[in-house]
Amino acid sequence: MDYRIFKTTIIFYVMLAGFFVSERLRADVFEDASYKGEKIKVRYALFGGAGEQKIAGQMAKLFIAENPDIRLEINVYPWAQYWTKLQVQTASGLAPDVMTLYSENMGVWIEQGALLEIDKYVQQSGVNFSDYYSAALEVCRWNNKFYTMPIDISTRTIAYSITRLQERGIPREKWPSADKAMSWDEFKELCQLLTLRNGDGTFTQYGFGIGQMWNQTMYRMYGGSLFDRQVNPHASTAIADGNLSRAVCDVFKMQYADRTTLGFIGLASGAFDNLETLLISPKFGMCTTGPWALASMKEAGVNFGLAPMPRGSSPAQLIHVNSLGIYRFSKNPDAAWRFIKFVTSKPCQDLIGRRLKNLPALIASQDAFVNNDFGIKGCEAFLYDMPIAHPSETTANAFLRTEITKFGQRLEQDMAEQYSARMSRLTANNKELTEKDYADFAAGMNKYIDTIVPQRLRLFDENAKKAFERANMPEGGIAVRYVYPAILFGGFIFFILMYFRTVRKNLEDSGVKGGFRRNNKAGYFFISPWLIGFFCLSMLPILASIVISFTQWNMILPPKWVGLRNYVHLVTDEYFLLGLCKTLKYAMFVIPISLLGGLFTAGLLTCNIKFSGIFKAIFYFPSLFTGAAAAVLWFNMFNKDYGVINHLLSFLGIEAINWIDATHAFYAVVLMNFFWIGSSMIIYYAGMKQIPRSYYEAADVDGAGPIRKFIFITIPILSPVIMFTVIINTIGAFQVFTPALFFAQDSARIGEPGDSLRFYAVNIYNEAFNNLRMGNACTYAIILFIIIFIITMIQLKLSKKFVHTD
């Protein structure tokens, strides 16, 4: 009977698998079937969605028609995965021949040695530089050499909802127009007019919702900049630049004092996942948007117009450039260049323009962009700012990139916290807020912003200096490079041996009762699968980890021996220490949850009740789902506005909490553990079932109540099991990864929001596959190994001393 159920299930799954296999693999390969000679293979990777895939396919067909000797494969990745994928592919030597690069990441990418220098190709093919936007070309040069060619420019404009403007009865002459930039004051006034504020501090409509990059773009429009040069910045100008300070203050005042603009944190917490198409929601009058989002806005029925960015005193429009580079170890760089040349020529550029993928880099294709296939009017607005276009910061210093991101995030987080703290004070007594209350509130916030911004800029300046220093770290002496590592390596080996010895000593009594015939050959034959796995997949990698941790290695260029430097850095490594603390803190929270929750539910089930099987199944069921699906589900339930958890809490009179912001995300992930107490429950349940009834009966005779019985009988007998779950939970905390991945915007920004989810495993992944610092990542891994070693030792020691053994 049992066997039959097993068999049916297997058959069911095989059938299911068969059903899915019938779906063909969908690889995007383009080639000329009639061409008989040998074909050169070229692979091209880009980011985007199905729309981009379609455009790339059309370009590929055009290309193949002219170059029948090439077989072109196209891989489209969503933006969220593109960088991780590209990093990993490059590290694994499988990078595409032609890759799309985003201007911000260019410098790091080139310095890592991933790109081929294409100066000679550019010279030979006689590219006319004046055909392209000069800011776009500027991005492609690094140390005066070409590494890429610009394909398109992602620049942004303001999109305004005609419906909202009409509803508010704003006269036509005050509307923004596509051929003229608003002044900052005009823009502010318009935002104010479009903002509908309620008496209780909430909003019916926001004047403006910021999009990606809005803040940085506006600093530039004010003439402020974080560095004195675009490429290779060697010193920060954060303090000296008066424009910058003013710009930062003004931009944030609109978001956190008047709140005629909803800032990034507010948007992230609300039901507005998609910043480029905010206008679909009736809550916004205006937003920033790029060409790629216009078609879907139109399709959603939004009636919108476009206008250039508002301008400050010495404006410069910040643009990002997508350019195509050739992988350094590409087997067919010539063919790859032919493709790049083709894609940057008129037919393809026209296609990019017509389909509104982005602004084409070729100036001649701007007509196609303005008269696009979607019939969207007003795209001239994107061209208006091109004469003052400036590429975004491009630096080879990966540490600096982190600092730039951190600066913006932490500043905004401070303000958001300040805003909600002050606002909840204001609305505490449920009084209808008047215009004056709001004015006072805004004045208070303005003052706060004026003090915090210079502070933060100063901090940024300091951190930037540190980042510069760290990037130019001198090499250590012989001791650091060779002697200490040798000692450490010896230490590790000793540790490992000790580890096994301790395990052995403590588990000696678990031996098998003999009686089987001795047969060495058969014995080793049977355990050989595990032996292979042990040596190849555990032992060898651990030893290799130790060696790699003494090097600096990005998996592209050969490793560089740095000795103990990675370990020395750990002491000052903010993320490492943060990760360690976060992980331990997480364990501190999870252990009581799983312990008390498990004991409670197991206790309920052992109460001699009917249907205990059903309840047990229901309680256990959720603990099977610890992966991506659960993370996705909880992320949705935790949302501040549309999430169900806040709504349920509101019945208890608890105000809406933004669970997925930097302060709360950690606790949200902790709370998810309530869902998983079933796994410890089942262990406690089994343990409780084994306690002889006679113990309790004896206690009954002594007149002990249920609580006393629980404390003095159940808990001591369960203590080995409890100890075991505590250890499992602690080790499990060092492996938390999936929730962090799904709480972050994308895998390249794992650990966000803020630094709230920088768990230990997240740090390892981040160092290895986002920053390509394998040496550092291995250092983390070795420290983890030591920690696990210590925990296990403690467990064994404790279990001998304190734990009840029968």
């Binding site: 799954y13 985007g48 969605g49 199905a50 509803e167 796995g533 190849c536 349940y685 492996q735 992944y765």
Partner: protein
């Protein structure tokens, strides 16, 4: 008497705890049937629903006013509610190509002249029905006007009976609480779209859950097969054959049980890279053929409970070690095999880090990567993401429902969780 009160309390506690555990599953199921718009509702919708809409018409004759080339249609005869003046007038909606826009203005009767229109009927299609506070009957909201006042703003909505075909005159309502009426409408097409790709709603098919689930099933089933074969093989060696160094090796099995995979992550990546295994399913499948330490432990514990006489009698019948493994021990270990199979399946099905690192080709994405893929920054896909989550949970849920008994007893007998 006291006894039964205690029982009732226990049942209440059980049911409440049960509800707590069941609720998220209800939530994901109901969300998987919501539309994009319904997902964004504040407060959240507890069941999939859509706004009730009606198509209304209005007689245009005698209601049109033309101002500098634009036409306005009088939707209601009323004094100006905002200025509270006593002048007669009406609210007019601006027309664009003979269709109503969202702009509504008040004009005084003295300032304007009603003109003849060259069309008779004007359509207000898909007008939302609202429930208005204090009024029982649902009303269709034809237009809306918002203006700033001293503090906050004033809102006027223009309503009409929902069941009339032709609107006579709208009724203006100043600052009333109103909310659209929603009817239960599950959106089953979510499942089809999720199978076809994140942009299927816009008619662009790409890789969807049909492919992701196939890949995940392929990996998981092979991993399960690998674990069953290799672990039972190794466990057989450890439990039923005596050989030199057996204890020492087994201790190593126990020692590696606690080893987190992060420790070996990078060197393993380098090893697979040198083998050319990146961007194939091999790194996700092959290690499962080398017997996981936990599974070996589990199976060994089980096999130790099988009586020794089984082997002895088989040996007398002339059965070798491999024969005994296949004919005696394996068929007798079905319960523990099922446990190992389920744990392996659940683990590989939900693995995120492995596929994230090793798989590049969009056509190779697994379910977990697929969920990440569906979180597109370009379009709002929360409803399809929920559908994806249901699909990602489905196989594990089915396994649990069919094989629940084994899972429970499997964990209970070893005292260790998966």
């Amino acid at each position: 008497m006291r006894f039964s009160v205690k029982k009732i309390l226990i049942y209440i506690a059980l049911i409440l705890t049960g509800l707590f555990f069941v609720f998220p599953f209800y939530w994901v199921l109901s969300s998987s049937l919501k539309s994009r718009e319904c997902m964004s509702m504040v407060p959240p919708a507890y069941y999939p629903s859509e706004v009730r809409t009606v198509d209304l018409k209005m007689q245009a004759g005698g209601r049109i006013y033309s101002q500098a080339g634009t036409l306005w249609l009088k939707i209601c005869e009323s004094k100006d509610l905002l200025t509270k003046s006593q002048i007669n007038g009406g609210y007019y909606v601006k027309l664009n190509q003979n269709l109503p826009t969202s702009q509504v203005e008040w004009f005084s009767d003295m300032d304007i002249k009603i003109e003849q229109a060259d069309f008779e009927i004007l359509e207000f299609s898909k007008t939302a029905c609202h429930r208005i506070k204090g009024i029982k009957k649902p009303l269709a909201v034809v237009g809306r006007l918002v203006r700033n006042s001293g503090s906050g703003f004033n809102e006027i909505i223009f309503t009409s009976d929902a069941d009339v075909k032709v609107i006579e005159n709208c009724k203006p309502m100043l600052n009333v609480a109103h909310k659209p009426i929603r009817d239960f409408t599950p959106r089953w097409v979510n499942y089809k779209e999720t199978m076809e790709g994140p942009e299927a709603t816009f008619g662009e098919k790409s890789t969807g859950f049909a492919i992701f689930m196939r890949n995940s099933l392929f990996i998981s089933i092979l991993a399960v097969v690998g674990q069953i074969l290799s672990s039972s093989f190794v466990a057989y060696g450890f439990s039923r054959i005596d050989f030199k160094g057996r204890e020492a090796w087994f201790i190593l099995v126990l020692a590696t049980m606690m080893l987190p995979m992060e420790v070996t992550l990078i060197p393993l990546f380098a090893i697979y890279k040198s083998l050319g295994w990146i961007n194939t399913f091999l790194p996700l499948i092959v290690p499962h053929f080398t017997a996981g330490a936990f599974n070996v432990f589990l199976m060994r514990q089980y096999m130790l409970t099988l009586p020794k006489e089984l082997d002895e009698s088989a040996e007398i019948d002339g059965c070798g070690a491999i024969g005994r493994y296949f004919h005696i021990i394996l068929p007798n270990s079905i319960p523990v095999i099922i446990v190992v199979a389920i744990f392996t399946f659940v683990y590989t099905w939900q693995d995120v880090m492995g596929p994230l690192i090793y798989l590049d080709n969009p056509a190779y994405r697994t379910v977990t990567l697929g969920l990440e893929y569906f979180r597109s920054p370009y379009i709002d896909n929360r409803h399809l993401l929920m559908t994806g989550a249901v699909l990602a949970m489905l196989p594990v849920a089915i396994l649990f429902i069919f094989l629940q008994k084994y899972i429970m007893s499997g964990i209970a007998t070893t005292g260790i969780k998966g």
